[in-house]
């Protein structure tokens, strides 16, 4: 998303570069499978598309 925060992987010894992780209070706490992450991003994109349509209609 364009931001880079530091986080420790102490709680996820198996995490490696390229993994998508969930971060809380400076620690990565879970690895998120790529397909699942994609589903969330897809949903966010859907919401944005939905709003774009609204914008065109009301603008």
């Amino acid at each position: 998303m364009g931001n880079r925060f530091g986080a420790k992987t102490t709680l996820l010894p198996d995490a490696g570069p390229g993994d998508i992780v969930l971060v809380h209070a400076g620690f990565a706490i879970q690895i998120i499978a790529e397909e699942e992450a994609k589903k969330t991003w897809q949903l966010i994109a859907e919401i944005d598309e939905f709003s774009d349509t609204q914008n065109r209609v009301s603008g």
Binding site: K8, T10, L11, L22, G26, I32, E36
Partner: protein, 360 residues
């Protein structure tokens, strides 16, 4: 997206019709509280579904005496208080960390590692890390306790205010509180403890427990799933947060908690004493336990300010039913922690809900 919302709404409508009464679902997570308000989720639910906010804000359920201990330690010249942001404005008996800033050395940290670093950078002071939070945050505290022990960082200690969610859920139901029909369970706590941990609530009390993440769609679908169960007369364990939550959780984090902490009886604002509901630093790490280092104990006392945070936290009243709400108690002039914490129910109600303005 709209179809998914519609589908969840239909499940909820169906359940309400089948049961023929109001359904009360309690969420026990501050992040859920905020997300529900920020997205206006209550306004898209059927009227018969009532969302109760429970004791999900760790700062809010912290007893007054803990806060007073923090303020006392803050006054010491030889201490640096390292704390997560929210604690700064929580009012104690005489002011808050924020109002005492001129006489106390208080640093806001985003991570427990930052607190430990402060100890390394300031060898002539003792850093007291105000460790408040549920199971999601406890592993971070465990990590630094171990690190402090391994590296002999003697000027570091932890004032553990960590609490456990499941015992609180049990306490809520045991008080013959049959208002609560089901629980929407906290996503990030479940990441650590696993959704299986909520199984006891399902088995002992026959209440559906469904874990959801924080995106509004997650919450709505979690509620839909709960409603479906209730409508069909079932009470089961479930999770819609499949991306991040497994049945057993993060075992590395769980082991770390077990290594550094014991489960102890503890006092929760609003709920009173709950057995085995708080985390106390283990004897083997006692030099890093601020309670023992400074010889202080939490001694809960009666709150005479008129603050009704306790009842709010149990879902017994809504913030607007408290006489102080939006009058003497506002985010600028908070009387209790529920109004000052960024995840507090009263603060959320104040910021995001329609209410009658008190004319100045």
């Amino acid at each position: 997206m709209l179809e998914r919302i519609y589908k969840a709404q239909q499940m909820m409508d169906g359940a309400c019709k089948a049961l023929g009464r109001q359904i009360n679902i309690m969420e026990v997570c501050g992040t859920h509280t905020v997300s529900i308000f920020r997205n206006g989720i209550r306004t898209v639910l059927p009227k018969a579904i009532k969302l109760l906010s429970g004791p999900g804000c760790p700062v809010c359920v912290t007893d007054q005496s803990y806060i007073d201990i923090v303020l006392e330690l803050a006054q010491r010249d030889d201490c640096i208080i390292a704390t997560y942001g929210d604690m700064i404005r929580v009012p104690g008996g005489a002011g808050s960390l924020e109002t005492r800033k001129s006489t106390a050395d208080v640093r806001v940290v985003l991570s427990s590692e930052d607190a430990l670093q402060l100890a390394k950078d300031n060898p002539d002071k003792t850093v007291v890390f105000i460790a408040v939070g549920f199971e999601t945050t406890a592993p971070a505290t465990a990590v630094v306790i171990k690190e402090a022990a391994e590296r002999d960082i003697e000027n570091f200690c932890v004032l553990s205010g960590h609490k456990l969610v499941v015992p609180a859920m049990r306490a809520l139901l045991s008080e013959k509180n049959d208002r609560i029909d089901a629980f929407l369970c906290p996503g990030h706590v479940a990441v650590i403890i696993g959704y299986g941990a909520f199984g006891q609530i399902v088995d002992e009390f026959s209440r559906p427990c469904v874990v959801a993440g924080f995106e509004p769609m997650q919450i709505i679908e979690g509620l839909g799933e709960i409603a479906r169960q209730l409508g069909e007369g079932r009470a089961e364990l479930g999770s819609v947060y499949t991306a991040a939550v497994t049945e057993e959780g993060n075992t590395v984090a769980q082991r770390l908690i077990a290594e550094c902490f014991d489960c102890a009886d503890g006092y929760w604002r609003g709920l009173g004493e709950i057995k085995k509901s708080t985390l106390k630093v283990k004897d083997k790490f006692e030099q890093f336990d601020a309670f023992r280092r400074f010889d202080v104990t939490e001694t809960p006392t009666e709150d005479t300010s008129g603050c009704r945070c306790g009842e709010v936290l149990c879902g017994l009243i809504e913030p607007s039913q408290c006489r102080l709400f939006a009058a003497a108690c506002t985010p600028e002039t908070p009387v209790g922690p529920c109004m000052v914490s960024s995840e507090g129910v009263c603060a959320a109600w104040f910021k995001y809900s329609r209410r009658k303005e008190k004319r100045k």
